[in-house]
Symmetry: C2
Subunit: 268 residues, 2 copies
Amino acid sequence: MNFPKIFLAGLAWGTAVALGAKVVTKPVAYEHAGVRLEGYLAYDDEKVSADKKAPGVLVVPEWWGLNDYAKHRAEQVAKLGYVAFAADMYGAGVVTTDAKKANELASQFYGKPLMAERAQAGLDQLLATGLVDAPRVAAIGYCFGGSAVQALAFTGAPLAGIVSFHGGLHAAPADAAAKNKAKILICHGAVDPFVSAEDLAAFKKSMDDGKFDYQFISYAGAVHAFTNPGADALGKLNNIPVAYNAAADKRSWAHMRAFFNEIFAVKK
Amino acid sequence: MNFPKIFLAGLAWGTAVALGAKVVTKPVAYEHAGVRLEGYLAYDDEKVSADKKAPGVLVVPEWWGLNDYAKHRAEQVAKLGYVAFAADMYGAGVVTTDAKKANELASQFYGKPLMAERAQAGLDQLLATGLVDAPRVAAIGYCFGGSAVQALAFTGAPLAGIVSFHGGLHAAPADAAAKNKAKILICHGAVDPFVSAEDLAAFKKSMDDGKFDYQFISYAGAVHAFTNPGADALGKLNNIPVAYNAAADKRSWAHMRAFFNEIFAVKK
């Protein structure tokens, strides 16, 4: 959905936009730590209502910000019958296609408490919709967002599961195992040059040592951003090694669905 | 199905045994390199016939031989609508629960052409049923059998895909990439002590260098034999680090099904 920015800014909870047969989408204004944010809610209003709650899925965007790609993912999640909320990490309307700018924006968060806190603000919005069956909530994230959902889970956020698609991978913090409630699915490009063998090994060691419930999947030939059909253009524009991989995209989506089937199957 | 051995020996193609609602099973006598073998065919005769062919799945057992566990897997595959054939690698009726004996039996095959050749003899039996839609054939294997299906694929056998469950992992032979036709799914116990970090790295490097179409999945907390509910008893009996892991078993089965959905979706 491409809304003119000025139109978007005026919308809030009140207005829903019909998308395809059943999915409605709404921009949602909220605030965190003094920053005005605007997320993107999507759900199927034939399947979901306050009287007919559904599992909820937080979607945390790539380092480009809450762009059409992230919104499209929220819509796809909504089509599965879940309530999807694409979080805004940077600020209302702050998106870029410039890797230098994206790196500056993302650097405010990496390795800092703000990363989980800002993601939590999005999670709060998802839960505040009144549409979500609260014990059945997951968070998925792409690239920077993959790191963010890991950070969110490691603070002990009430998540049944997280999925990281081509997210950064580092050893979990020492206190994460005791706090974490989420099952973890890592979807990783087998030849992603942004994740070193050392970081991978440290991540795995922290998962094993902390007895996390995780699944780690490597997809052949996939590099960073392998789920994003726009990755090749962004890679060319910025001269960075990112690329779409259709097979890995489809497979990781199928694996996410199987993961949701497991973690959402039983009401706790 | 537990047949008295003497009864089994007298059966061949002619006699089918009804299993549950729809799945029929048949012991199948065959021979390879002078060794008398007896495999185990399973399919749903309401869904599959010579006029209504289905995808075929070769099942290669653990190093214990073609025991009830492997037969049960063939039955489960048959229930999915596929023609399953559990191969006999050792010889008719040769099964053991003694790890020393199993190691002797398996050692005839590891690293030798016989491993792929004996698995190919099973594949030939599967294809000879006349029930299989030949371009849609896969091989799955457990433990020793996981290594065997890799070896079979690497000879260029006509397989759309292979699944290795807690199989041994070593670098693929130098000529494998040019010969291999199969997509590859590796289901691996994240803390399997039988696969060293060095072997894992060598396997992965050979997959990446050879541009194999593979997916590699690690399951948290899972060790060798994680799919076999009898593993704990066998581990205790033999003082070896094998154990069942129900979560990893269910997840890897779901991942196998998603893999089959992909590789069997389109008739070539």
